[in-house]
Amino acid sequence: MSASQNVAAAPPTRSKLQKLIWNFHNNPKRELWIAWYTIIVFYNIFGIVFFGITRTQPPPPASLTPREIVEWFADNRMGLLVGFGVIFFMGPIVTASTALIAYSMRRMSVSPAFAHTYLILYSLAAVPGMLLTCIVLVVGAMRPDRDPQLMATLYDMGFLAFSGTMGIFLIGSVIWAVAILLDKNNILPKWFGYFNVCNALTEVVVATCCIYKEGPFAWDGEIAFYINLVVFGIYTGCFITYLKAMIEKEDPQVDYLPNKV
């Protein structure tokens, strides 16, 4: 009864739970699937926390006065504390997304340098891009009787950290785009490589939020936020779908990482 005989056996068809347990033990691609499902879990939690519980997305106006900002913190206090508490606990699972994308680049015929650069870049991206916002807004919510000017500073810091760190995502998109377009193994479709270019160019727009506090170029504006959100949302849906297709297509007996060291 060798191990290879076990793997060759078909998964039991009795119940979904049986199938899940069999896959967990025997599916040769199980790490990839665990990573992929983690991405789904993360983005659902992200959506519920940021859009539903904390109400920090869509962002509140950049034009509020310090007194209105104190009111905003008071109104959203429990939401901010609970929601971002969840992110403090579960936020780091986003690394599964970075890992799977970097893995997709390792499967490509291009140099592993692409995957490594992307990995380093995105490992650093979550700190200012997400965690800093959570920390700063929780600090503001925790003691609501601070000086309004201080609260306004925390408010600005929180939202500018979220929007202003787009440079990392921009460069990351360019790296992935170049890798996909140069790839001869066709791991991911070429049009998605071009879409990465479009995503990168759209993120340039966000930089205007450093200057404007109201209108379409502020962090809550139509151009700097909403149109960007639509493009990014479609982009995220696409890459999750394509990563799934990539995992399904992979044949563990035949496919291996090129440039194997």
Binding site: Y194, F195, V205, I227, V231
Partner: protein
């Protein structure tokens, strides 16, 4: 071998006797063109809405723009579009040296456009109009800036076209036409920007 087949493909395609029509360049590049077109369309609609909400201020600022600059830039870009279209035509016919010359002409047009754009910005900044001075100028710098970014990416596309043309062993007609398609997109986006920013009142 493969490449020769491609030339014949394209030669007969224009007579439509080879059967079904083919996408000019990669279909993937067309996906990018449509996505960019839609994104810019959204930006333009936002601009029009904000213009109608405050027409006097916008028109006062628009009067500070020089229509001549806009016209000259448009003609330069149209000519560069012509030259890249001629480059593609000659590459299909197999006249590689002519195609290379037209490709370089396109690059020259792009460089002239960029230089003129930067000069125009310096004139407006000299008059005191910056990105944050008023609403109209925030849109002006935003649209022309985003467009210039696309021109710079366009230079990369033209570089790829040139690189494909000079080496017969790696020449891929599809990639050459895709690069040209991107440059045409840069052109028609500018045509819309010119009409909305400079002409429309």
């Amino acid at each position: 071998m493969n490449n020769t087949a491609r030339y014949e493909d394209f030669k007969s395609r224009s007579e439509l006797d080879s059967g079904e029509a083919k996408y000019p360049g990669q279909a993937a590049m067309w996906a990018l063109v449509m996505i960019e077109a839609m994104t810019f369309s959204a930006y333009f609609v936002v601009y029009t809405i904000y213009y109608k909400l405050n027409p006097e201020a916008f028109l006062r600022s628009q009067a500070e723009l020089s229509l001549g600059f806009g016209v000259f830039n448009t003609v330069i870009l149209l000519t560069s579009s012509l030259s890249i279209a001629l480059c593609v035509f000659h590459s299909r016919e197999g006249n590689i040296r002519t195609a290379l010359r037209y490709c370089l002409l396109t690059v020259a047009g792009g460089l002239l456009f960029s230089a003129l754009k930067i000069y125009e910005w310096s004139v407006e900044i000299g008059k005191g109009f910056t990105f944050s001075s008023d609403e109209f100028f925030s849109y002006y710098y935003f649209f022309t800036g985003m467009h210039l970014l696309h021109v710079l990416v366009g230079f990369i596309a033209l570089g790829v076209v040139y690189y494909q043309l000079i080496n017969p062993s790696r020449r891929d007609q599809e990639i050459i036409e895709s690069g040209a398609t991107f440059w045409h997109m840069v052109d028609f986006l500018w045509v819309i920007i010119f009409a909305l920013l400079y002409v429309m009142r």
